[in-house]
């Protein structure tokens, strides 16, 4: 008697189509990248940093536990674990590192090391503070013969001004601070020393002169629409 055993039917295996395989590979890659971004390569939640005017705001929202956090500012090319100046210790939430220089990149290392939470550390940077937008200004003007004289109040934080004529940018003149020293009396004459600077067709022009009527530095802008020059 021949023992014949019936083999269960082999299920048919459908090989995925090449397009499905490619799509699955792409999806897996995207998920992997997303996870690395959220938790970092070492599995530690990353610090989020926001650069603002003369300050950087740090937060470590994904860190586990309630142990205090130390924020340390480190040199740009530091080796892990070396150097740096702690500016915030025993903080448990977002922290603002203020009093910074705008335009300078800053790098940070953040550490949570109080037991029983295992030591975790991560880094963030560069964060480069930027100045706030200039403030508002008040404009006044008076019409002349084929001309208009404009004057305006200082806009906080502005390094130059845009003039708009009928809504269109007319010119951009950099008004540096005219600095002068109150007179030193020499042989009975009032002496002023001043410096003013503005841009003329993109090139900086610097010169010194005085208004003979007021004795103060004077800088004016004149020209015709579309062809404005400074002198």
């Amino acid at each position: 008697m021949s023992g014949s055993s019936r083999q269960p039917p082999t299920p048919a295996v459908r090989s995925p189509s090449p397009s499905r395989t490619a799509a699955w590979t792409t999806l897996t890659s995207l998920v992997s990248k997303f996870q690395r971004r959220r938790i970092g390569r070492s599995g530690i939640p990353v610090v989020t940093g926001t650069a603002q005017n003369a300050q950087n705001t740090l937060a470590w929202p994904g860190v586990s536990g309630t142990a205090p956090i130390t924020y340390k500012r480190v040199p740009r090319h530091h080796r892990r674990g070396e150097g740096g100046t702690a500016f915030a210790t025993n903080v448990t939430s977002a922290y603002i590192n203020s009093g910074l220089t705008n335009g300078t990149p800053y790098y940070y290392r953040c550490r949570q090391s109080t037991p029983p939470v295992p030591l975790t550390s991560t880094e963030v940077g560069p964060l480069t503070p930027q100045p706030a937008l200039p403030g508002a200004t008040t404009l006044s003007g008076s019409a002349g013969n084929t001309s208009v004289s404009l004057s305006w109040t200082t806009s906080s934080g502005a390094t130059s001004y845009n003039i708009y004529q009928n809504g269109a940018l007319k010119t951009n003149v950099t008004f540096a601070v005219d600095e002068y020293h109150r007179p030193r009396q020499r042989h009975g004459l009032q002496l002023y020393r001043c410096r003013c600077q503005h841009h003329r067709h993109g090139a900086a022009v610097e010169h010194s002169h005085l208004d003979p009527a007021t004795g103060l530095p004077r800088a004016t802008l004149s020209g015709s629409p579309g062809n404005t020059s400074a002198h």
Binding site: L150, T154, G157, Y164, Y180, L221
Partner: protein, 45 residues
């Protein structure tokens, strides 16, 4: 510390010429820095 006899003066004025008499023009000014352009001023007709 600034000396008492030291002053800072910023000239914020401009004269736009080459305009046509009896024609209405609107002007605005806005401050600019490395971050961007601030809000425009009031309009001067």
């Amino acid at each position: 510390m600034a000396r008492e006899d030291e002053h800072r003066h910023t000239n914020l004025s401009a004269t736009v010429t080459g305009l046509t008499n009896n024609t209405s023009y609107n002007f605005n000014v806005a401050g600019v820095n490395t971050t961007g352009t601030g809000p425009q001023s009031n309009t001067v007709p």
